[in-house]
């Protein structure tokens, strides 16, 4: 199946099996460094990417669903200004994920920030605590994850105010 999509800002035309998981396409066909494992849909949470701006587990997305979509992996996200906000939150709180889940945790936090950055609603703690269970890694406990999200959200909102 021929698929046109945009990965990390590059327009690509791929010929792949229509049901091949996105995680395998990124790892095998495109050599994306930030994805290291393929759990085969076991919900390990370590294959997070942003698909059209929303965090998804790439092992659950088949090739035919990425037609004409925009995919951002941690490789390109780590060069963006948005990443700096999350990096600063890690430094300010002293909580940093391990190297196995750093990419996925960061992209998940970015997705949460995008949900909350443009409105004044208080953060829904139970939702964030539930989200923290998505990535199966013991390096960050749910309360620390919540702390990082809160810190990152403050930094992001301040930046948005300055930009406005």
């Amino acid at each position: 199946m021929r698929i046109e999509c945009n990965v990390d800002g590059k327009a690509l035309s791929l010929t792949v099996d229509s049901t091949k998981p996105l995680s395998l396409i990124l790892m095998e066909s495109l050599d994306i460094d930030s994805l290291k494992t393929h759990c085969g849909g076991n919900h390990c949470g370590k294959c997070m990417v942003l698909l059209n701006g929303k965090a998804v587990l790439s092992c659950l997305i088949p090739a035919f669903l990425i037609k004409d979509s925009n995919i951002i992996t941690f490789d390109s996200f780590s060069r963006s200004r948005d990443f700096r906000d999350i990096e600063r939150a890690y430094l300010n709180t002293g909580i940093t994920p391990c190297k196995n889940c750093y990419a996925s945790q960061t992209l998940l936090i970015e997705d949460i920030l995008r949900r909350y950055e443009n409105n004044e609603f208080p953060i829904n703690n139970s939702e964030i605590l539930q989200e923290s269970t998505l990535i199966h890694c013991h390096c960050i406990d749910p309360s620390s994850f919540l702390e990082v999200v809160n810190a990152a959200l403050i930094i992001r909102r301040k930046r948005n105010v300055r930009r406005a």
């Binding site: 199946m1 021929r2 010929t15 792949v16 099996d17 229509s18 049901t19 091949k20 998981p21 395998l24 085969g40 849909g41 076991n42 919900h43 929303k54 965090a55 998804v56 587990l57 092992c59 659950l60 997305i61 088949p62 035919f64 669903l65 998940l108 997705d111 939702e127 539930q130 989200e131 269970t133 998505l134």
Partner: protein, 296 residues
């Protein structure tokens, strides 16, 4: 080249008429309807697929399946509406027990991908969402092929057989789900374990009740054992409705023993962890009802 030749064909109809044409064209081939894909992609042997000549019909682009409407009596969702969407649009409208069931189904990131139709049509395990919808007397519209395409409304329990297995015809499409808007004095839902990854140890309990002072006037409960089936019985509902609150440990134990005996007789032996989890949930529910009766 190799990938292109071996790859399953994917059809993406844009409306129900196109879907019908596709189904009629490929009625003799192996077809697979694709909703959100979370369940299918989680199967161990999904990729690389052993059967290459499968026709996949993706329902993602069918506009009719993404609609939502409501009136005073019911809310109606197309089967391709995501659980996140149902939760956000129905937060103030739908019964709390349903909102809590959706909330416990998965994290927001996963719920964005899961559709209500896909969640009801998982063939190898039973989801708590299906049981909560049974409890609320929801109806579903099923479209099926018999010379031409027909559609009919069924009570949701009729799309499952007595063991909770999916009993839809091959290529049948669940197109709409209608949920009655009802008021209950007490609603309870709790689930332990993931039905997708730990079907053998997971269990959930949902209950609704209308109360009069310290007793239940109408009470219904349903237990989901993902690897065995749904446990819903008029006898259990009658015992539940006849409980007087505050209810002591003795009554709770005999009620629990009755439920376990019923499950063993009708669904078979369940895992010990499921039994312990179920007892915990039942005890939590009775405690809440005790508190409610004492605060009246």
């Amino acid at each position: 080249m190799y990938a292109e030749l071996r790859s399953p064909n994917v059809h993406e109809p844009h409306n129900l008429a196109e879907f019908t044409n596709t189904i009629i064209s490929y009625k003799d081939n192996a077809t697979s309807l694709w909703a959100g894909g979370t369940y299918i992609m989680s199967q161990k042997d999904f990729y690389p697929s052993k059967s290459a000549n499968v026709e996949i019909i993706s329902l993602q682009n069918i506009e009719e399946l993404k609609h939502f409407q409501r009136n005073d009596r019911f809310a109606e969702f197309g089967s391709m509406v995501s659980l996140s969407k149902i939760q956000s649009v129905g937060a103030l409208l739908l019964p709390k027990v349903l909102i809590k069931t959706i909330d416990k189904t998965a994290t927001t990131t996963i719920r964005n991908r899961i559709t209500i139709g896909g969640c009801l049509c998982t063939p190898s395990f039973r989801t708590p969402l299906a049981s909560t919808l049974m409890l609320l007397d929801a109806n579903v519209e099923v479209r099926y092929l018999k010379k031409r395409m027909h559609s009919k409304w069924l009570g949701i329990s009729r799309i499952y057989d007595k063991n909770g297995g999916l009993a839809l015809l091959p290529n049948a499409l669940l197109s709409r789900i209608r949920i009655p808007i009802q008021q209950f004095d007490y609603q309870y839902f709790n689930a332990a374990g993931s039905p997708l990854r730990e079907a053998n140890t997971s269990v959930s309990l949902a209950a609704v009740a209308k109360m009069e002072q310290s007793s239940i006037s109408t009470g219904k409960m349903i237990i989901t054992i993902p690897n065995k089936g749904f446990c819903q019985s008029r006898d259990i509902d009658n015992i539940f409705s006849s409980l007087q609150f505050p209810c002591d440990e003795g009554h709770l134990s005999s009620f629990f023993s009755y439920i376990i005996t019923y499950i063993r007789e009708n669904l078979g032996e369940i895992d010990q962890l499921q039994e312990v989890r179920l007892k915990g949930m039942l005890s939590e529910m009775i405690n809440e009802l005790n508190q409610k009766s004492l605060s009246v």
